[in-house]
């Protein structure tokens, strides 16, 4: 670590820090606090997007949401999406990281191509996969047929739509998990691995007792990137199902978008996004605490 990371740096206590932070802080505050306060107020009104008289309605929007079965479905979908995405992408990313950590001739090729999906716009990825997932004419069902499997309904059936969306999400973001975990694997010193080998540990034991232990803070980091992003995922669903079929992919963020732009009910849309924000904040706070703990344990900071 650099000398500034521990103890006091050259600019410690100086006014310079505050002056330098002023412009970005103002910029970000303007873009968040002002809309936040405005939004909190809006969620307590019956404001419509384009016209009409705005009236203060107290917590009516929130109470109505609690009585709306679609809200509870959307809340469930949101949690299921984030849960599935994290539970699939962390083990899969770990497997890919372990694979890319093995020295081989094709290693460099995969290390440079794996980041590719991360750099493609999510809306584009959504459209790409939607094309391939067409039940009758899509290439994915044709590929399934080639290996003797029955066709899959993908996005067109309520029971498979959310899983299909999570698959697209996994294609886009599993590489991020793999990249972070690979960096973690490479930070393990060769001496530790050598010592384990001399003690007669086999590959599985090495992975379980040394690599996984060392990867803990990195796994928390992946969760910290993925869970909040998955909770507020919007663009993949916008490009594919827009919440359907039969609410199967209607998450809170998608529901808020629909409330605002289909029903032009700004008050209700804001109530939904604030609930989502609180949800995201709770998960993030837990993960941040976990991450700090892991970081202190491993770097002694």
């Amino acid at each position: 670590m650099a000398s500034a990371a521990s103890g006091k740096g050259a600019l410690a206590g100086g006014r310079v820090v505050y002056i330098a932070m002023l412009a970005p802080a103002l910029c970000l505050l303007f873009l968040t606090i002002v809309p936040f306060l405005d939004g909190v107020y809006t969620s307590l009104t019956n404001e419509k997007l384009y016209a009409g008289v705005t009236r203060f309605v107290g917590f009516a929007n929130y109470l109505k949401l609690a009585q709306n079965p679609t809200f509870w479905i959307a809340l469930g979908n949101t949690l299921l999406y984030a849960g599935l995405a994290t539970l699939i992408q962390i083990p899969l990313g770990l497997a890919v990281a372990l694979l890319l950590d093995v020295p081989s001739k094709v290693q460099w090729f995969f290390r440079s191509t794996i980041a590719l999906p991360l750099l493609i716009p999510p809306v584009v990825a959504g459209l790409m996969w939607k094309t391939m997932m067409q039940p009758q004419s899509g290439v994915l069902n044709w590929l399934l047929a080639q290996v003797g499997l029955p066709p899959f309904a993908w996005l067109s059936d309520p029971s498979t739509a959310l899983v299909s969306i999570v698959l697209i999400d996994t294609w886009l973001f599993m590489p991020l998990a793999a990249i972070i975990l690979l960096a973690g694997l490479q930070s393990i010193s060769g001496e530790v691995l050598e010592a384990a080998r001399i003690d007669g540990a086999n590959a599985w034991q090495t992975i379980r007792h040394i690599k996984l232990q060392a990867l803990k803070p990195y796994i928390v980091l992946v969760a910290m990137f993925r869970i909040p992003d998955a909770l507020k995922s919007l663009e993949i669903i916008y490009a594919t199902t827009r919440g359907g079929p039969l609410n199967a992919t209607r998450t809170l963020h998608v529901m808020a978008y629909e409330e605002a732009y289909r029903w032009s009910s700004l008050g209700r849309a804001m109530a939904i996004v604030f609930i989502l924000w609180v949800l995201s904040y709770i998960f993030s706070a837990i993960l941040l605490t976990l991450w700090r703990k892991e970081e202190t344990r491993f770097h002694g900071r």
Binding site: T32, G39, T113, P228, A239
Partner: protein, 288 residues
């Protein structure tokens, strides 16, 4: 012992090959498929079983980039070129503004008290947690009142939500790795913080700056939702352009695929040219 290891080595090799094959198919097949689709005629696209060999055509690219005959005759700028121009203006503008605002902040945080730097890092990270709509739905009302709606300035400003935190976090991690001793001589000569930043830190941190700028540009380029809510007819970005292929009665698959390839070009080129810097930037400097 060596003889004993051979069959195990063989299974090991087979497993590796299988792993690479599965990974390669999963990551690359969708890109391959849409790329070939963008080069197919309509007949080849809708054919079932899917066609893997076909006569390539650049018709789809010609149509999205230069428009159809009526547009060309009327001298109308085709939509996708307009969207592309908008995205270039918005994303480069957003990155430049973020460098100006973020570079001094990143330097100050990297060289400041470690505890405060960590706190700032968490605060900046927490900007990622807010659902976009929670911010831009209220901003919409403000933008329409102030004339920022559907303006480049307004779009560049709102894109700071993406580019500024990325810029500060990535630059901070790079500047932290520069030994502080390098600055000492200049400080003794009486150079101020700004001089040190511009004349000593920036030249050394160039790879970090490049990494931060590339990542910030791509994430800004990839965004759809800001354009969806805050851009009208004048400033719509490329990610909205590709949705145009869907607004007709049927999806124009070939055009959609070609537009998708065009919109993904900056990211793909960057990932091949700057693999190492991007890897570090993608993790916001959290991973070396």
């Amino acid at each position: 012992m060596a003889a004993k290891l051979t069959p195990r080595k063989m299974t090991h090799g087979a497993l590796l090959t299988l792993g690479y094959a599965l990974l390669g198919c999963f990551v690359l097949f969708p890109i391959y498929w849409i790329f070939t689709m963008s080069l197919k005629e309509f007949g080849d696209i809708i054919a079932y079983p899917p066609r893997f060999s076909f006569v390539p055509t650049f018709e789809n690219y010609r149509e999205i980039l230069f428009g159809n005959e009526a547009d060309q005759a009327g001298g109308v700028m085709p939509d996708l070129l307009r969207f592309l121009r908008n995205s270039v203006i918005i994303s480069s503008g957003a990155v430049l503004l973020s460098v100006i605002l973020g570079l001094p902040a990143a330097y100050a945080l990297a060289r400041g008290e470690a505890k405060r730097a960590n706190r700032a890092r968490f605060t900046i990270l927490s900007f990622r947690f807010a659902p976009e709509l929670a911010i831009i739905l209220p901003l919409y009302a403000f933008y329409t009142r102030t004339g920022l709606y559907d303006s480049y300035v307004g779009m560049i400003l709102v894109h700071q939500l993406i580019t500024l935190p990325l810029m500060i976090l990535i630059l901070m991690s790079f500047i932290r790795d520069i030994p502080i001793e390098i600055e000492e001589a200049a400080r003794i000569d009486g150079a101020g913080p700004l001089t040190i930043l511009l004349q000593i830190i920036v030249p050394i941190a160039k790879p970090g700056l490049a990494s931060a700028m590339i990542i910030a540009f791509i994430f800004s380029w990839n965004n759809l939702i800001f354009g969806l809510v805050l851009a009208g007819g004048e400033t719509r970005p490329i990610t909205m352009g590709i949705l145009q292929a869907m607004t007709f009665d049927q999806i124009k698959w070939g055009l959609m695929a070609a537009a998708a390839m065009v919109s993904a070009v900056p990211g793909m080129i960057a990932s091949l040219l700057f693999q190492r810097q991007i890897t570090r930037g993608l993790t916001l400097g959290a991973v070396k």
